[in-house]
Symmetry: C2
Subunit: 406 residues, 2 copies
């Protein structure tokens, strides 16, 4: 086997790390394994029949679906999304204010291309979505962070952070936030904080990247207006995804924002993948056009609410007595456990021996001290009885660690 | 309209340029426009019915197609490609030597992530595929170039070029070549040059990026072995694409190579788009599995050969008398015209007034002197009578330019 390659690798290649989630996808295929590790939708809520209806288009509109599309995306789908997101974004956007992407993961990469020079400071939540951190890091970003609590990013800490960065001559480029049912923390930014964040960004002339893959999967309470809708200066981009409300397999996301930032992201999309799959876009548009997106969303929400409730009950029964704490998420895919004195890396290893996979906090946290006492647990993928069994195993792992530590 | 954005852009964003092809896609939709500008397959050779057969999988295998896939790609499709490309690559590769990508455009981006540090020298053919140049440029590459003639890259010039770079302390990272029916030059690298290139790369310990999107679309003569098949040291990656042999709308390509480079490209794919569309991958695999890929390829070749012949005839009739010269391509999508004394930028503008779109050479050429007297002309997308009409208009444009210059 040749290994001339490694000595030729770029600095970025030598520094980057594989995603622990993507790597775990291989492990969790083992028989008997219970996975709380990924962020996968439940297959039973895929609207298979309704989505497959669009397949007639493969014949009647085959010449479009099999051909290159424009980089900006399939116009009918862009128009649909502009209408569909209008209540959340505060107004209906025009065609040149939206770009269709290959999953919302690509939005992170394209935005980083447009915004980040090596050494630039990006303000992120701590903890945050690890594949966003990795993408920004690959582009050479340095991180400054603001803690997340039960009410989302603690924006009261922002002005002092920004001032201190400015004093060092390091003007931050943008603030990255997952506003609803944050990954991994599970919490949602309050209305007051959203307003405040938009105001702070405006005051300091900072861009905001509002990432909202989970926002439409709300179990309790009312939808809150987006930061985008408060931002009259147009400094915010809003990223959405079909992965959690329809299917990750379509690999489609989108980004909404001012014409100039959307245009520049499209230019980088030309050189990264030219355009997103026309087949996926037409099939997805057909599904949306018929009203299925809105009609099916309650089924998804109902399924995940039921599983969230099952996990809440199992946690109360098995983990609360062990001193583990958490904030109950109002939507989305994840619980974020505070493991107290328990080392979460060790817990994850121990749990894997018992055939239950969780993600230790370290990969999500800029502050390693915080990560070592936290873990992300997914509830959308497993059935309630499996959730109960998995949480039981997790509790056993904790108990054994405590006994061993005595 | 907010334009706070532009002052926040990265250096890469300020320096990059939009693709003239992608931009022209908008212009050429005008009624009456004849487009020789893009590189689009002809819709009439899309195997619509056969491809649509796979749609039954949307129901029977919906849970797989709508779910996330692994970053490396759908295993059955990877296995199929490893078998299918074995004659060309000289051996059947294993699963960890192939990565499925979102079009072969993504291979360029992922390879650049792994290999290029800002300032690194990459050796390319002059002229070359403009979106490859843009991708490498976005990643900070500097270019050294070797001219392409009727027999492909003039590899005899390589050793002196490499030696002079080494003397400057600039060891090149890799050599980028489009071996078959080069885009834009149309020529194919001879067997002798392929062997020599592999030998030179081995001698100087350089990687080779062998890009082969057109290789299976050969009208005349015999297929030649890939450089990959000569490279016993494993320093070559081979990139393939479904865009020209099935459909660009599936947005699928692949890259074959040593385990360590494939693995590292997969890690960057995790942070750029996680995985390629599962829907596209399963539909494409279904098509391939049934033998349709091989069965349909002769139809594509026949259609494009007929159009190449039509263009050859029109060129002889209308352009040869004007002093325009060219090399007849044995396959692929393009003619590369030598416009002699005619400025190709001006010719392209003049032609557009007459509603025929061609691409002036400048965007493909590192040497601007060469580009100004060359133009790329596509023959796959238009019917023979349209080709004749388009070439007639082109000849008129040339004639008018000559008259005006007197």
């Amino acid at each position: 086997m040749n290994d001339n390659w490694k000595k030729k690798f770029s600095t970025a290649a030598c520094k980057t790390r594989p995603s622990p989630v993507r790597e775990l996808l291989k492990v969790i295929k083992q028989p008997g394994m219970i996975s709380f590790a990924g962020g996968m939708p439940a297959p039973e809520v895929f609207p298979i029949e309704q989505f497959a209806e669009g397949a007639e288009k493969l014949v009647s509109d085959g010449a479009t679906m099999l051909q290159y599309g424009t980089t900006e995306g399939y116009d009918p789908l862009r128009n649909f999304l502009n209408q569909w997101t209008a209540p959340r974004l505060g107004r209906e956007l025009s065609l040149d204010e939206i770009l269709i992407t290959t999953g919302s993961q690509q939005v992170l990469d394209l935005f980083a291309w447009v915004m980040i020079d090596p050494g630039d400071v990006v303000i992120v939540e701590d903890p945050s979505y690890m594949a966003a951190l990795t993408t920004f890091y690959n582009h050479g970003a340095q991180f400054a962070s603001v803690p997340v609590d039960g009410e989302g990013m603690d924006v009261s800490k922002l002005p002092a952070l920004i001032e201190s960065l400015l004093k060092e001559g390091k003007k931050p480029k943008f603030i990255y936030t997952i506003v609803n049912f944050q990954n991994p923390a599970g919490s949602t930014m309050t209305l007051e904080r959203r307003r405040e964040l938009a105001e702070i960004a405006d005051r300091y002339d900072l861009a905001i990247f509002e990432d909202d893959p989970y926002g439409y999967v709300r179990f309790d309470g009312e939808h809150l207006p987006s930061i985008f809708s408060f931002d009259k200066a147009g400094n915010t981009v809003y990223a959405g995804s079909f992965s959690k409300i329809l299917s990750p397999g379509v690999r489609l996301g989108w980004v909404s924002g001012s014409k100039s930032i959307i245009r520049q992201m499209a230019i980088f999309k030309q050189s990264t993948d030219l355009c997103s799959s026309s087949i996926s876009q037409v099939l997805t548009y057909e599904y949306c056009r018929k009203g299925y997106l809105d009609a099916h969303l309650p089924n998804i929400i109902k399924n995940y609410r039921m599983k969230r409730d099952a996990m809440e009950e199992s946690f109360r029964k098995h983990l609360a007595p062990q001193g583990i704490t958490w904030v109950k998420p109002e939507g989305g895919f994840f619980y974020w456990l505070n493991t107290g004195g328990i080392d979460s890396d060790e817990l994850a290893r121990k749990a894997l021996e018992k055939k239950v996979a969780i993600l230790p906090g370290a990969s999500f946290c800029l502050n390693p001290e915080a990560g070592i006492h936290a873990a992300r647990v997914n509830y959308t993928y497993s059935q309630p009885d499996v959730i109960e069994e998995g949480v039981t195993r997790l509790a056993q792992a904790i108990q054994e660690m405590k006994l061993a530590a005595r």
